[in-house]
């Protein structure tokens, strides 16, 4: 009898605990429509937006977030691994290259937006498989106590300048926006020149940290003279009153331009909740989400043609963005990653 009691107890525990999904923080009470969103935007920034969507529509969002050290690539690979039996509906990527790669691999379906003209044509897929919104830029964050104004770097090539040997930093270029940046460099400069630049940066004893946030903090604390990071991490140090300055690199007329890259949103092919997914996508592409991202701590740059909000880091029109075809960058991504893995980060 005791075995039956124990067995029944275990069964009850299992039934109670292993329900198909636990109620997530963004879910409305009670059963109803739902959407599964994989998002590589930091959880603290994405969660309030998803929660607001649920509040407005009653559609529960089941989110999966990424870890900083394997940002974006981890989620994109999860979508690939689940290609035969997708469970993700919406991929909210905080960069562009991995979304384009998923499209090239046939893992997305058209968004079916009624009107996407409010997003600049260069920042959305011509075939309608993905759409960009709210951009960030790759910047050099400089410690103003350590680097005098007349010596401040103006190009990412300064990471290879022997003057700053061992005092410059960047995030692990296998994941996240740093991997995206390397892919863009391979596409823009060509494999040989980009690889030579990365080799020179490595030879200059660059500090490779686990994420862009760490780079920004190390610069702000004076551990590094300057580092390559994202605007959202850079602006957090600026907002905290640290002695730092943001430099948009390679903005001079003959420079290659600053990498400005949008968030992208896409609908997964075979998405189990495609209709709810489309509603989430429409919400994410609305001017108010961009405004919230611009005003919020990540200070993202609005791309909507009617955007009323401005970011603390500036407007898109004030920047000199790097001109590279997203498809070419996506095509270079794997080659760049292989180079980084086997040469730049070789143990």
């Amino acid at each position: 009898m005791w075995t039956v009691r124990i067995g029944a107890g275990v069964l009850l525990l299992c039934l109670a605990g292993c329900e198909r999904e636990s109620p997530p923080p963004t879910q409305a009470a009670g059963p109803g429509p739902e959407v599964v969103a994989y998002t590589s935007l930091d959880q603290q920034f994405a969660e309030p937006i998803l929660r607001e969507f649920t509040r407005r529509t009653g559609i529960a969002v089941r989110p999966a977030y990424d870890t900083e050290s394997t940002k974006t690539v981890g989620l994109a690979n999860r979508i690939r691994a689940e290609a035969a039996r997708p469970r993700c509906d919406v991929f909210w990527n905080n960069e562009v290259v991995n979304t384009v790669r998923l499209k090239e691999e046939g893992l997305l379906q058209p968004l079916g937006l009624a009107d996407a003209s409010h997003i600049p044509a260069a920042l959305r897929d011509p075939d309608g498989y993905w759409c960009g919104f709210a951009a960030r830029a790759r910047v050099l964050l400089v410690n103003t106590d350590l680097v005098p104004a007349d010596q401040r770097p103006t190009s990412i090539r300064a990471l290879a300048d022997p003057r700053w040997r061992g005092r410059v930093g960047m995030a692990k270029p296998l994941f996240g926006s740093t991997a995206t940046h390397v892919a863009f460099l391979f596409a823009k400069l060509g494999d040989a020149e980009a690889a030579a630049l990365l080799k020179a940066i490595r030879a200059n004893e660059v500090q490779v940290l686990s994420g862009n946030k760490g780079v920004a903090e190390a610069v702000a604390a004076g551990r590094l003279a300057f580092g390559l990071t994202d605007t959202d991490d850079a602006v957090a140090e600026l907002d905290a009153g640290r002695p730092v300055a943001i430099i948009f690199p390679d903005s001079e007329p003959d420079g290659m331009g600053t990498l400005v890259f949008p968030n992208t949103v896409a609908l997964i092919k075979g998405a189990p909740h495609a209709e709810a997914g489309r509603r989430l996508i429409e919400y994410l592409l609305s001017p108010e989400v961009e405004a919230e991202l611009a005003r919020g701590p990540s200070a993202q740059i609005p791309l909507h043609v009617n955007a009323s909000a401005t970011s603390r880091v500036g407007r898109l029109a004030d920047l000199r963005p790097m001109v590279v075809d997203f498809g070419a960058a996506a095509e270079a991504f794997q080659r760049a990653a292989r180079f980084v893995e086997q040469e730049f980060l070789a143990p």
């Binding site: 923080p25 690979n77 035969a84 469970r87 500090q207 190390a218």
Partner: protein, 529 residues
């Protein structure tokens, strides 16, 4: 007629017990075997990835990094744990019970909470890439557990031998030259434990950006899960850990047997004499530091007020999921573990197979567990498991079943042979032996093992990070994610909640460890029948 029915019932019960144990074991053992098979199959299909992964230079570099981290970790653990265990277990040190109590709490504290404690004081970027720091942190997290193991072993040393040695030598010499060498097997076990932690976990190496084997497997999988690289990279570490564990299991097979262990004999207490107050004060300071420094570090990052209340509410879903899933996994683990441990203490091919499977499960790097579960279960037939939190429970079971069996084996080895013979004469089959002998002999240890498994499940990051489905908010995964941004208010709240969650299990373990485990007797068996 009734006798025939009775015999059928016994045979049916036997078949049920043996069958259920075999099922659990086969399910769990499918993962290490599946990992090796998948690695080979993927390697054959993807020769380019295989040639990149099966690369002696790369393996050598990874071995060097992993070895360096492990060496530092072992050094830190043994340097801290050995003198503290000697003081706590064998001297009249004031506050030694408190020291052991803190060690129990420390051993119950997950690695990620240790990491929060440390990184609340030292920013992540300041220790970036440091093998020394990574090793020291792993060593620090393992110290309380090794301290407890050593303290337990030091209380079981041969008192007669010590008494004889005391006739010719000073107490200090006896303690260091006689008592300590008697626990060398436990010292080796502690070393092995630290090695396993470093070889199979990536929580700290990922944060500090040190490329150990486990970290490399995790990164390679995140880079491209379809290729052979991640699993092939893991093979050397799987083989090395399995070899070491098999060796250890063979050497320590008799540990806990009724011939090898004495009960009820109080250990000799060595008096510290004039140094007692000074050593007591030093240990007191150490304990105070161990408690106050992490708490102060966290409080520094906390925003007291409404935001704290709101944050506590936000952490609650994570805590609830972790508690429920941890409790389910610990329950699903512990019951079959008792049966498997019971079988594993016998002789023959089946017990050997169980012990081998346990060793393989224990040696499996955590990310490989996650990867293999995804590979095996990400298909329509297993959708109910893959898409639900059941996959997290399964990952916990696979990760800790081997450990549960190995922890239960010593308790079951203490069952005297004549007791078994008597039970068999009374007509007990496999089910009867399990119910009337194994259960009474192992029930209390089973309770402690349940608590240990529960704590381990709360702490697990490296496999659950990969398998956790959307919207299953785990405390461990959330903490691991937040740790990459440094310690801020949200993470400080989460760490305080996590540390609070392990206090009750810690107290249970503490009270359980204090009471001596009685050896099973014929009376207990007769009462059972």
């Amino acid at each position: 007629m009734s006798g025939r029915h009775g015999a059928t019932r016994v045979r049916l019960a036997d078949a049920l017990v043996v069958g259920s144990h075999a099922l659990v074991l086969l399910t769990a053992a499918a993962v290490p075997v599946g990992a090796v098979v998948l690695a080979v199959l993927k390697g054959v299909r993807d020769p380019e990835a295989a040639s990149l992964a099966v690369n002696w230079a790369r393996w050598g570099a990874l071995l060097k990094q992993t070895g360096a981290v492990a060496a530092v970790a072992v050094l830190v653990t043994l340097t801290l744990a050995t003198p503290l265990a000697l003081l706590a277990a064998r001297t009249d040190l004031p506050g030694r019970r408190l020291l052991l109590g803190l060690a129990v709490l420390g051993a119950s504290t997950p690695v990620y909470i240790w990491a929060v404690f440390v990184f609340a004081l030292v920013p992540l970027w300041a220790v970036n890439g440091s093998v020394w720091v990574c090793g020291a942190l792993y060593g620090l997290t393992a110290t309380p557990l090794v301290l407890l193991l050593l303290a337990r072993a030091l209380r079981d040393t041969d008192r007669a031998l010590e008494d004889t040695a005391l006739l010719d030598a000073t107490p200090r010499t006896v303690l260091l030259r006689v008592s300590l060498p008697m626990v060398r097997r436990t010292l080796l076990a502690g070393t092995l434990l630290v090695l396993l932690l470093v070889a199979t976990d990536f929580t700290l190496s990922d944060l500090v950006v040190v490329r150990t084997f486990a970290e490399e497997v995790y990164l390679a999988y995140q880079l491209d899960p379809r290729r052979a690289g991640p699993l092939l990279t893991a093979l050397p570490v799987l083989a090395a850990c399995a070899g070491l564990l098999a060796l250890a299991e063979r050497r320590w097979r008799d540990y806990g047997s009724h011939e090898a262990t004495r009960f009820g004999e109080a250990p000799r207490v060595f008096r510290l004499g004039r140094a007692r107050q000074a050593v007591g004060a030093a240990c007191g300071l150490l304990m105070l530091g161990a408690l106050a420094v992490p708490v102060a570090g966290l409080v520094r990052h906390l925003e007291i007020g409404p935001r704290l209340i709101r944050s506590l509410g936000e952490v609650w879903p994570n805590a609830r999921s972790s508690l429920v899933l941890g409790a389910i996994a610990a329950t699903l683990l512990s019951l079959p573990a008792l049966g498997l441990a019971w079988q594993a203490t016998r002789c023959g091919w089946a017990p050997r197979a169980i012990r081998t499977a346990c060793v393989l499960l224990l040696a499996l790097p955590a990310p490989v567990t996650g990867i293999t579960l995804i590979e095996l279960l990400n298909r329509d037939a297993f959708a109910a498991v893959y898409d639900s939190s059941a996959i997290v429970v399964l990952a916990y079971v696979v990760r800790f079943l081997g450990l549960a069996v190995l922890l239960l084996m010593p308790a079951l080895r203490r069952v005297p042979d004549d007791l078994l013979a008597q039970a068999r004469l009374d007509g007990c089959g496999a089910a009867g032996l399990w119910r009337h002998v194994a259960w009474p002999a192992g029930a209390r240890t089973l309770g402690l093992v349940w608590v240990i498994q529960f704590v381990l499940c709360l702490a697990e990051v490296a496999a659950s990070k990969l398998v956790v489905p959307p919207a299953v908010p785990l405390l461990s995964v959330r903490a691991f994610t937040l740790l990459h941004f440094g310690v801020y208010h949200d993470l400080a709240v989460l760490a305080l909640v996590g540390a609070g969650l392990v206090v009750p299990p810690g107290l249970i373990l503490l009270s359980g460890a204090r009471r001596p485990v009685p050896a099973p007797s014929a009376e207990s068996v007769q009462q059972g029948t």
